[in-house]
Every structure is written in structure tokens, then in C-alpha cells.
């Protein structure tokens, strides 16, 4: 809301300049957005120009429709500076005059309220006018606040709206068929061309101001073109009414039509302001020589307005704020803001009558806020809430995710955070046949689908880095993946380029399947859950370079080489090998909740190590060889691992030489050569019989 400093001074004799006023109001709930120099021009009659006049722009929160007016902001200033507020009145001289209008049941027109829920009060007054431009001072004030001057009659309606916050409208009296104003619901399909020259089709949920035959305005939103005030108009009817916020909001939204009037009605205009606005408009009409009001008004009231009364106790004020506020200060603030507080005998509690312009005040807490903000939050002491009990444990996912994150960082992966929505094409490869979760109103097609896999974002991050000249990329993300069956926390990672040795001394090697498999094994260890591998080859991975990850009996992830077609589609160079992994962290911890680490005592007896090289068919899996040895060996075999695989000179085609290191140890004695020899004999016999292996 923009306000003109000199206009504010009509209502309050504040001495501080615009900047200081802005600073102080910002600490009282009206945040200053900016200050601009006021446009030059005339002042109202009898007012001297003010040096340094300026337009203050305040950010008015949605609960304060009263501050969408000059008077509303002046009232806040008066309360801050402890100054009296001067309002337009019938006996005020000069330009703050309000007309004294006589209420009548029937004037040269009639008013009927047929939708009292949507419009419980409607004030109309007729006048004889000579349409022309409004005076320079009025045009200047309107322009300063961003409203375009149109004609003296229309400018008066806008002036009252800006000054008092009461939206007004002026009809050409002669265009009102039957001299009737009927406030009613629109008829199905009823048509109206609004002031912006657009033809609109109305619905029965909308309120219209009609004459005897047809709609003349959309209530509280915009007038109709046909009944607008024109250059040759001589008789007008001013409208000053109160329209229900929900209805105006819904209508304005449905028509895609917002106006200065609708913005005020939908937040809640002053329920007692209709007659006040009319009196002001009629006085201005005569003041600027635009015409003569008939001197009567039709004040149609379907339901009398009953002011809200909210109880307040001093204990509540101090108890909620946590600071002391003297009783006289409570009463001063409420009075300055237009509340009427009636104290009980002990003066520690009040019945507070709420003024019509404060629809936001419904509960004692609302009044506590009024007292608190005007007493000043700067007086709040910084105290500390008592602790009542030890806090319950935090969400266990936090510690688990932190363990996985530490693991990935230690392996050289940097942490990424991506948007949870991606484009449909990026999501599709990971959907696993399930329908995607799509957004009804995405910002763009790039953000249309909730990611079914966190890999999607990681792949785009790899692409970004590759396109910016980065050859070696290791990235991971721990985030939520979405499916119709629910949200799951996922760890995704990608690795392309060097696996190590990228140094002037040489030894560079590019990442391969076993690097990414090692990462998965490390994360399993970090989470305290042993992970195994199985043959799973989803479409987005290259067959023969992919594996499923298993915890217990459940598949909890995948790892392998990203499909070059998919990588290419996301902008990654075709020659790149991008290895990826994704682990469902929720599934992993659900399968095997991490147990506490327990230390195994160090062995008391030495181990015996035997290396053996076997010639086996090169189609035989490593797991088969190991399983055969495990089964044949006694329980003293404590470790078994491959340390070399060789094909080439000296090894027949179709065969591979596998070198294994076997470690034997017993807990209760030192093993003898005979014992280990017997074990090795059994192992070799088993591999020969079961696998046709020859010892090299």
C-alpha cells in the first residue's frame, strides 16, 4: 500500500519525516518496502506544500485490510507517536468534511437486498453532477498512490477508497432501469460487460448489483460498462456497501479479475464503514464543485452489525508475551487503535469491543499481539523455556543417513542436492513400470514429475559437470524418491573418469564395475548390514556390467554401468563410462536394523597362510570356486580371497588361472603343518572333483 506523506498529515500531526516514520512502523508491523519522492503538484485548498513530501510504500499483511487506506496507516502512526487521530466529520471545516446525509427508505431509486449473506448492507445516495476533470490536488494524490485519474465523479470514488479503505462505485442513474438497485445472485449464464470492456458470463455463486432488469455490476469486484459514468452523465447513484470476503474472493478468482475494491473486500472491509464512506464522497462532490448530493441516502441493512466483544486479562497479556506491560499501557494502546476496553472492578481484565475495520481480531491472543507490537517487541527479554523432560529420540533416519553420508565422503564422493521434480523423460527409465507421480501445476515441463529414483538428479549433475569441463566426477545424494506406494530414502551415486592414480607419477586407472561394487560393500559396512550381489540387469544399466544389491532376502538396490543411450540423452558424452549405484536406505535398515558393534577378541594363536593357483574354466564364477573351497575346508579356514586372475601365455584357451589365499587359524591351539596340509589336500580334491580344477 502506497501512502502520501502529506495526505497522512491530514489525519495526524506527526513531525517526523517519511524515512523515520517508515523505520518506526516497520518495527510495529507495517514493513516499509520503499520511499519515492512525491510527484509535484497542487495541495488541497488551505494546505501548504510540504518540503520533502514522499510516497511511502508499506507491505500490508493479509490480515490488515484496514491498513490498505491512508487513515488506517495514519491510525498506526498516531498510536506509535501517541498523537490524536483526526477523522473526516460533518462539522470539520476544510477538506476533511463529511456530509450529513439523512437516511431514507426510498430516494429517487430503491434498494433491495436479495442475498443478505453476501451483502448485508448497501448504502446508496443520488446526486446531480457535472462531469469533468477533478482538481489538480486530487489528481496528484491519486497518481501518487498509483491510481489513474478519470473524471471528477470516478476520482471521488477512488479517493474515498484510498483514504478510508471503503470501496465505492458510481452508476449513471438514468441507466438504472426501474430506478431500482437489486443486490442478488447472478442468474445462470447472465452476461455483463465490465468496465474493462470485457464480456463476462456470470454464475449463480456470484453477486451482482442489478437494476430492475439486468446486472449492472459484479458486487465488490467491478462495475458494468453500460451504467458507467460518462462525460454527459448528469445524475448518479453512489454505491457504498459491504460484501462478504469469501464470495468476492471466489468471484474475483473465477473471473480472473482483481480490482482495488476486490482486494479490500476479500480481506474484509469495514463493516461499519459504508455510511461513513458515502458521507465523505458526497462532501467531496460539493467541495470540488463536481455536483450536488441530494442529501439523502438509502441505508439498506439486512442484518444489523453487532460489534465483536473479546475478553482480555492482564495476566494473559504478560503471560503470553513474557514481558511486563503496565495496565495503563494496555489501555492506551487499545484506545489508540480504536478498541473500546471496558475494565472490570480490579482493572485486570477487560471486555474489548472491536472496531468494524478490524476483522482480524477474534480472540484474546489477537489483542495480546496488538498490545505487544505497540508496546514494542524490542522490550522483550531474552529468556529461556524451561525443560520439562529429556527429549525423545530423534528420527532414526537422521543418524543412519549421516553414517551413509560419512561413508560416501570418505570414498571421495561429493554431496549433491537436486530438485525432487524432474522432466518426464528423465523419470521414465527409472519408473519400473509404475505410474509416475506428476504435478498438476508444475513450473515447467522440466519440473513435471516427482523423481522415482534419486539417480535421475545425480545423472543430470554428472552431465552438468562434464559439460563444464570436469573429467573426473564422483557425486552422491541422499534424498527422497517417490512412488505411489510411498516415499523412500535413497542413496544414489555416480562415478565417472579416474578411479585413482591421477598424478604426475602415473598409475591413472578409470573406474570399473569393481570400484562401484566396492562402494556398495563399504556402505553396507558403514550401516552395519552385510550386502550381497545378485544378477539383476535393469534397462538403464548395461547388461554384463550390472548387479542387484541384496540385504537378507530382499533386493535393496542396484549398481553398474549406466546405459550409454540414457547417458547420451542426458547430455553426457557418449564415450564416458558412468558407473552408478542406488540403495534404498529404508529397505536396508528395515531388513536388518543395524546392531551395536561388538569387539572380537584378538586371536591368541598364529594363523597359517597357503596360496594356491587353480586352472578352471573361465566361465566358472568366482563365487562357485569360493563356495566349493569353503564347503571342503575345515572350520579353521578363517579367510579366503582371490588375489590374482590370469589368462594368457601358459594358460590354455577357455581356462583361467585363479590364485587364492587361504588363511587357517584355530582359537585354542597353534595349527600344525599336518593339519593345514590335510585341509589343503581336501580343498584341492574337492575343486578337482567338483570343478575339474588343476593345480598350477
Amino acid at each position: 500500500m502506497k501512502v502520501l506523506y502529506s495526505w497522512l498529515r491530514d489525519f495526524v500531526d506527526v513531525e517526523d519525516g517519511p524515512a523515520e516514520i517508515g523505520r518506526r512502523l516497520s518495527l510495529r508491523g507495517l514493513a516499509l518496502e520503499g520511499i519515492e519522492p512525491a510527484p509535484p503538484g497542487e495541495e488541497p485548498p488551505g494546505r501548504a506544500p510540504i518540503d520533502g513530501d514522499a510516497v511511502l510504500d508499506f507491505d500490508v499483511t493479509a490480515n490488515r485490510p484496514d491498513c490498505m487506506s491512508v487513515v488506517g496507516i495514519a491510525r498506526e502512526i498516531a498510536a506509535v507517536y501517541r498523537l490524536p487521530l483526526r477523522l473526516p466529520s460533518p462539522d470539520a471545516s476544510g477538506h476533511l468534511r463529511a456530509a450529513a446525509l439523512t437516511a431514507v427508505d426510498q430516494a429517487t431509486f430503491s434498494v433491495a437486498l436479495e442475498a443478505p449473506d453476501l451483502c448485508p448492507r448497501y448504502v446508496g445516495a443520488a446526486a446531480t453532477v457535472a462531469v469533468g476533470p477533478s482538481p489538480g490536488w486530487m489528481q496528484r494524490r491519486l497518481t501518487a498512490l498509483g491510481v489513474r485519474p478519470i473524471s471528477n465523479v470516478v476520482d471521488i470514488t477512488n479517493y474515498v477508497l484510498l483514504e478510508l479503505g471503503q470501496p465505492m462505485h458510481a452508476f449513471d442513474h438514468t441507466r438504472l432501469a426501474g430506478n431500482a438497485i437489486v443486490v442478488r445472485a447472478a442468474r445462470p449464464g447472465e452476461a455483463l460487460t465490465t468496465l474493462d470492456s470485457k464480456a463476462r458470463t456470470l454464475a449463480p455463486s456470484m453477486l451482482v448489483i442489478a437494476d430492475a432488469t439486468r446486472a449492472a455490476a459484479v458486487g465488490g469486484v467491478m462495475g458494468g460498462l453500460d451504467s458507467e459514468v460518462r462525460a454527459d452523465t448528469t445524475r448518479i447513484v453512489f454505491e457504498s456497501a459491504w460484501f462478504a470476503p469469501g464470495s468476492v474472493r471466489a468471484t474475483s478468482k473465477a473471473l480472473g479479475l482483481r480490482s482495488e475494491a476486490s482486494m479490500r473486500f476479500e480481506r474484509g472491509a469495514d463493516q461499519t464503514g459504508a455510511a461513513r464512506g458515502m458521507a465523505r464522497a458526497c462532501a467531496l462532490l460539493e467541495m470540488i464543485g463536481a455536483g450536488t448530493a441530494d442529501g439523502t441516502m438509502v441505508d439498506a441493512t439486512a442484518r444489523p452489525y453487532v460489534p465483536r466483544v473479546v475478553p482480555l486479562t492482564h495476566a494473559h497479556v504478560e503471560g503470553l508475551l513474557g514481558m511486563s506491560v503496565p495496565v495503563v499501557e494496555v489501555e492506551r494502546i487499545l484506545d489508540a487503535l480504536g478498541f473500546t476496553a471496558i475494565a472490570d472492578a480490579s482493572r485486570t481484565a477487560w471486555q474489548v469491543r472491536v472496531p468494524g475495520w478490524r476483522p482480524d481480531i477474534a480472540r484474546p491472543e489477537d489483542l495480546v499481539e496488538e498490545v505487544g507490537r505497540h508496546h514494542g517487541f524490542e522490550h522483550l527479554p531474552a529468556t529461556f523455556p524451561p525443560v520439562f523432560q529429556a527429549p525423545p529420540p530423534s528420527d532414526p533416519r537422521i543418524a543412519r543417513d549421516a553414517a551413509a553420508r560419512r561413508g560416501m565422503l570418505a570414498l571421495g564422493f561429493s554431496e549433491a542436492i537436486s530438485f525432487a521434480f524432474i522432466d518426464a523423460a528423465a523419470a521414465a527409465p527409472f519408473a519400473a513400470g509404475e505410474p509416475a507421480i506428476t504435478l498438476a501445476n508444475p513450473l515447467s515441463e522440466t519440473f513435471a514429475v516427482m523423481r522415482p529414483s534419486v539417480l535421475a538428479g545425480i545423472i543430470d549433475a554428472v552431465s552438468h559437470n562434464r559439460r563444464h569441463g570436469r573429467r573426473d566426477v564422483r557425486l552422491f545424494e541422499i534424498a527422497t524418491a517417490f512412488a505411489a506406494r510411498g516415499e523412500r530414502r535413497s542413496l544414489a551415486a555416480a562415478w565417472t573418469g579416474a578411479a585413482g592414480g591421477d598424478h604426475w607419477s602415473g598409475g591413472r586407472r578409470d573406474v570399473d564395475f569393481f570400484d562401484v561394487k566396492g562402494v556398495v560393500e563399504h556402505i553396507g559396512a558403514a550401516l552395519g548390514v552385510p550386502l550381497a550381489f545378485t544378477l539383476v540387469e535393469p534397462d538403464y544399466l548395461v547388461a554384463g556390467r550390472a548387479a542387484g544389491v541384496v540385504a537378507g532376502a530382499r533386493q535393496v538396490g542396484v549398481c553398474g554401468l549406466l546405459s550409454p543411450v540414457l547417458a547420451d540423452a542426458r547430455g553426457i558424452p557418449r564415450a564416458d563410462d558412468v558407473y552408478v549405484l542406488e540403495l534404498d536406505l529404508d529397505a536396508i535398515t528395515a531388513t536388518a536394523p543395524p546392531g551395536a558393534t561388538r569387539v572380537v577378541p584378538l586371536p591368541r594363536f598364529p594363523a597359517v597362510v597357503r596360496d594356491v593357483s587353480l586352472l578352471v574354466d573361465d566361465t566358472l564364477s568366482g563365487a562357485t570356486v569360493r563356495d566349493t573351497i569353503q564347503r571342503a575346508a575345515p572350520s579353521t579356514l578363517v579367510s579366503l580371497r582371490e588375489f590374482d586372475r590370469y589368462q594368457g601365455r601358459g594358460v590354455p584357451a577357455g581356462k583361467v588361472s585363479v590364485s587364492l589365499r587361504l588363511t587357517f587359524r584355530a582359537d585354542d591351539r597353534t595349527l600344525t603343518d599336518d593339519e593345514v596340509g590335510a585341509a589343503m589336500t581336501a580343498v584341492l580334491a574337492a575343486t578337482r572333483t567338483a570343478l575339474g580344477a588343476e593345480q598350477r
Binding site: 490480515n63 529420540p393 525432487a420 521434480f421 513450473l443 517417490f482 516415499e487 585413482g500 598424478h503
Partner: protein, 383 residues
Amino acid sequence: MSSLDELTALISTYQQAFTEALGAADAAAASARPAALDALKVAWTGRKAGKIADLMAHLPSLPPADRKAFGQQVNALKTVVESALAEREAALAATRRPADAVDITLPGRAPAIGHRHPLSLVREEVQTIFTRLGYQVLEGPEIEDDYHNFEALNMPESHPARDMQDTLYLSQPLPPPSGGVSPKQAEPAKADRSGTTRRTLGPQPLTLLRTHTSAMQIRYMEQHDPPVRLVAIGPVYRRDNLDLTHTPMFHQCEGLVVGKGITLAHLKGTLLAMAEALFGAGTAVRFRPSFFPYTEPSAEVDVACIRCKGAGCPVCKHTGWLEILGSGMVHPAVFEAVGYDPSEVTGFAFGMGIERVAMLKWDVGDIRLFYENDLRFLEQFSV
């Protein structure tokens, strides 16, 4: 015959000459110093032509009674010369490099160490601060129902405040999740709250991406009795176009404390403690009255500008203050929605943008950098 006095004077001259020669050798360039020292050694301690030997040759020319005194004087000089040369030789030997010495100026092998995302760092810092203050840290669902995101937070369907947060909606509603806040958090069933105005609502279909972590306030209070002392952290979503300060997804930290006699002053003390922990001791905070449908009174909270400490600079637009969060006392309508009795308990709540804190902490001028995952950006943050 020479006299002892003459020869004593000669020794003194020699001593002077040695000091000068040693000074010259010390002043020589590092590369020339070994040769200079070798020459000195030969010139002074050589058995035949050395200067010490020279001096000793005068011994026979003295009367026998003076010979002992002279000998002592020459030996004293000899000790000075030898120890000075030995000292320098030892120093030289200490700096001599073996033949297989490495060039220490060549780059080292960089260990593969990952870098943390700045948002993750701030998030953990905030978690640590509030854990230290005795809070429980929670996460919650990112796809929400209208009730938890809006209605229970005092934002019914037609509320103008819904315009404040432009919402992203799902094309198709999803069935409600079976679990609660978190399956791991399951607690004994809540005590019967007959007599309260709690709404009895069955599980609602999920229709939107949560616009704030405040939805977690409702989910938690529905399942737990007061007192409450929690922070909820995670991503939230709004239909904001990308620009320097907006992204359609960002991260929030929500705080909620409920109990008997909780006040706005408690909120100020708590946020002051947080601001000091995040931005340094002595960081001032300022409350400005504001409006949120789910708090009353409501306040926006500023911290003294972390660049200029309040003096005014471009970062704070010359106001001396930086807005970092919205907060207030929990609105009684929110308590009623979850079945708490607003005449029994009060509470405070606050919501802070993680990106905002990160931007201030590290002088990040463009919020979009957090979501590009450019390694040149990420690698500027510690492990």
C-alpha cells in the same frame, strides 16, 4: 729474541684476522660456503702452513719462562678456531641432501575425499544446535494432505493467506500413508482427550507438496501429548520461479516448543542462542511484528548484519539487519485442531530457510548454485 708482549699482540692480530675471515665465509652465498670453509680450515689449522702452526713456530724464540704462557695463548686461539670451524661444518652437514632426495615442490597425491553440500552443512549445524538445547529432531513426509499443510494450521480453503504460498499440487491424489510421523517413533496410544474440540478426521488423500515444514507440527502433536520440543528439517516446495533468491524447492527448519507458560520472550531467548551459535557470539536479534495464520502474535526475526555488524552495507541493504525467519506463538486454533487445550498450554514456533542461512554464511549470491551441483562450487566447502 722476541718478547712475550710482541707475540701477544701478534696473537691478537691473528684472532682479529680469523674473525674477519670467518665473517666473510659466513657471508658467502650458500653454494660457495663449503669451499670457503674448507679454505679457512687449511689456512688456519694446516699442520705445516697453517697460521696456528705459524704462531707456534715463534715458541723457540721466547725465553723459556715465557714459553708456557705463550703456548696457552696460542692454544686458546686454536680452540676458538677449531670450534668455530667444527660448528659450521656440522651445520653444513645437516643441510646436505642425499642423492635420492625428492623435489618437495612437486604436487602431492590428492587423497580422494568428498566434499559436503553447504545445505547439508547448515542443516547439520542447526540440528546440532537444537540437539544441544534439548530438542528432538524429526523429518516428515514431503507429499502432504491439505489438512496438515493448511487447514489444521488455521488456513481454511478460502483463507487469503493461501495466496502467500503458491502450492504445487499432484495430478492424482495418492492414498494416505499407513504410518504416522515415523514408524520408528511409535509410542503408546495417546490418552483420551474427551471434552476437547479436536476434529475427528480420518486419513486424508495426499494432494500436494508440502509448502512448509509446519505440517510436521500438526503430525507430531496429533500423536503426542505436550510438552513438545522439536525441530523438523527437510525440503519444502513452492511454485516460485527460479531467480537469484528463489527456487521451487528449498529447505526449512521448523521449531516447535509447547508447554505450560511458554512465552514470546522464551522464543526470543531461543532464537538469540541459535543466532549466536550460527553467526557468532554477540549477534543481536530483532523481532518485527508480522502475520502468519498459524501464530499469534507473529514476528519476523532479523539478525544484525553478519557482514557489517549493523553499521549498514550492501548485504543488508543499509538497514543493518537481515531477515532470517518467521515465528510466533502457536495460534490457539492450531492447538484446537490437534486436541490440545489452549487454556492449558502455550507454545512458540519458528520456520527458517536453510538456503538463506547458507547464503549469508558463505556470501552466496545466487540460490540456484545450491542445486547445480557444480563440483567447482561444492569443492569450496569442507569435508
